[in-house]
Symmetry: C2
Subunit: 419 residues, 2 copies
């Protein structure tokens, strides 16, 4: 079977299953999520064995240590993945909610009702736990899902998808609602992008190259999960201790994630006072500092020269760009020019400056006096997240259950006609 | 200047203007809409003269009479277009609304606030009044807009866009927030599709070919306004008089629009009783009936044979396809197979059958005992509409002001860091 035919066939099966989920009582899906958790536990040994093969092969192929770490399911990761299924099961189901309900002067009753999107394709990195997280979030919201994980996690994903399908069967629901792309052929991504007849939405997570391919090839709506080139701006009225604490947290606590800060902008008015203090603290935390001319001057030998490319880079590492800016509007302009509209913040004790910044910066999440690391579905109280959208259409910022739904208008009349 | 450079330059200007609108007090835009209405009135003679040239050329080029009619601004159309500007001005502005507002256990205040989308490209048919309608809806919601109307309306659109830009200048706002594509070169559409750096959203309205081009070429989100292949299903428990009245209204009252019915499905149980009555009524209203074998049998010489293609056709004319189906699930299956998920209804006195239909049919608007012609922003009480989305992402069905907005999360802390 060639890849295009394979992908079309599984997208078609997913859509057929999705149609039957759409008109199902959501309580039946909660029962299926219980069954999926049990099937995962039942097959733990087989799943971990498959995962060990993936990890061993990745090691042989010279995959980096952090990537190998993300591949591993053994230990706490497996248990917390199964716990995650039960947490999603326990969340209130958003389906069927009446978002608005009006009666028109002609007597027509118009209700806007939350429904599943239909069939969702998810393309993600080599993190097998995402197979379960993303699959279960789609199922909870009545959607069928086509999963395409990174090739390094192929065996793990197959074992996990089989357990999920077994859970659906146990609950009397169509196992075809979970489809795993059963090839590591790279053309599968393009083939998925062309299934607009069967897939209502594609969610690509991962590197720039992947997302650019999907954006170019997709014939259906796409919600991008792009880079996070996040900024913190230290205003002249900042509390220096707070600024230092927040910047270190945003850079160091977990550098490999999209909501970590990549660039700090320091107001010229406090460059000579706050600047040296920040550089010292960063160096103490083993962070490489790349600065503009002014920052190099302040930091002396502790700051290397930043290139134009640095301002556009998501390091995902213990590296931070630092620039000195003449004021708030220049900070906003820098963020607009180089940022990715993900998470950007200001540190200041001055409310009017803060409000100005929060209004002018066009990012999914804008912060006043807090770490950018809070851009996260759990931290927002959603109970779960499928990722963080860098798009402005449909879903912006952390995507939870509601963002995996659509709506329809249900109109009840007694024979009304239009005049 | 070549078309690609031209389009890039105007998209860039629109984005710069859009950024300044985004942080503006919405009341200033209402003042600008007043100024736009005045400028349109002031330039009425010049606009109508440009429009007459367009209409005359369309006549020479053999453009059809209904299309010429849609081109004309003279008479009531001009006045109602200007009145439309004042109606939009009077609508409450959705910007700034707080969609949710929570305080987390760590003290972070997270507000979800409605903001403009940014810069919107609209590609539409040769209807010059849409230049003003769409432009004003985008401005009201704080968006800059790039307008590309059909080439037959080029002179009219230029005159209208100039008046709108003059209105923005009068109100002290950037005139670049309204950009008209100043070429009839067809490659302009593709060039617009590639401006993802400057355009946040494209809304294509029009024929299948145009929309397919946009879906294939666009690198930014698209909200499609596709065909309306709408259905009415006459259930066995239908009130025949109501069914006849609703079907005639949905077909005849305005056949050239997307919410007109194109196919009627009759339940086998009432085919021999309701069928002949419907065919007689349709023929009396000069509607051509194209039927399956059973409908031809019922209708005798009054029904021509429907081809497979007929079930997939948006006639936009006094033609109706009619099929007899064995029951509700077969009706749902027909709608799923051939419909466009726009507006579909059931006529029945049986509530449980109706609820079953409303749940199973996956369309933007589903009806019980009413004409499909009500799928319309004004009929829904939105006060305005930019069109009817056939997508399931962001906006489904009639799109009003709220659907032209996005949101951002505004987070206020006092130095919180993540642990």
């Amino acid at each position: 079977v060639n890849t295009v035919d394979l992908i079309e066939a599984l997208a078609k099966r997913a859509r057929a299953a999705g149609r039957s989920l759409a008109s199902m009582d959501p309580a039946r899906m909660d029962a299926a999520l219980d069954a999926i958790a049990l099937q995962l536990e039942k097959h733990e040994a087989a799943i971990l064995a498959a995962n060990e093969l993936d990890v061993a092969e990745a090691g042989k192929n010279g995959v980096s240590a952090p990537m190998q770490q993300r591949l591993k399911l053994a230990g706490k990761t497996f248990a917390s993945m199964v716990e995650g299924v039960r947490q999603v099961r326990a969340l209130p189901n958003p389906l069927g909610a009446v978002l608005s309900d009006i009666t028109r002067p002609n007597g027509l009753k118009i209700s806007k009702v939350r429904v599943p999107i239909g069939t969702i394709g998810i393309i993600y990195e080599s993190r097998p736990n995402v197979t379960v997280d993303a699959g279960v979030l789609c199922l909870k919201t009545g959607n069928a899902v086509v999963l395409r994980g990174g090739s390094e996690s192929f065996r793990s994903n197959q074992a996990l998808a089989e357990a999920m399908r077994a859970g659906l069967r146990d609950a009397g629901l169509p196992e075809d609602a979970v489809q795993l792309v059963s090839t590591t052929d790279r053309t599968a991504v393009t083939a998925l992008c062309h299934q607009s007849q069967y897939l209502d939405l594609l969610i690509p997570r991962g590197g720039k190259g992947l997302i650019e391919t999907v954006v170019r090839e997709a014939r259906m709506p796409v919600i991008k999960h792009y880079d996070g080139i996040c900024h913190l701006y230290v205003h002249q009225d900042a509390d220096f201790a707070m600024a230092e604490r927040v910047i270190l947290n945003a850079k160091v606590q977990k550098p490999g994630v999209c909501n970590a800060v990549e660039t700090v902008l320091i107001d010229e008015a406090v460059a000579s006072t706050f600047g040296p203090r920040l550089v010292t603290a960063l160096r103490g935390a083993k962070v490489e500092v790349r600065g503009d001319a002014r920052t190099q001057q302040i930091g002396g030998g502790d700051v290397v020269a930043a290139t134009e490319e640095d301002w556009r880079t998501e390091y995902l590492d213990l590296i931070l760009s630092v620039a000195v800016v003449p004021g708030l509007d220049a900070a906003v302009e820098h963020i607009e020019t180089y940022g990715s509209h993900h998470s950007d913040g200001i540190i200041t004790a001055n409310e009017s400056a803060a409000r100005d910044f929060l209004r002018k910066v066009d990012s999914a999440t804008v912060y006043w006096n807090a770490s950018t690391r809070f851009t996260d579905g759990f931290e927002f109280g959603f109970g779960a997240e499928i990722g963080i959208s860098t798009d402005k259409i449909h879903a912006r910022g952390p995507m939870g259950l509601e963002e995996l739904t659509s709506y329809k208008y249900v109109i009840v009349g007694d024979g009304q006609v239009r005049s």
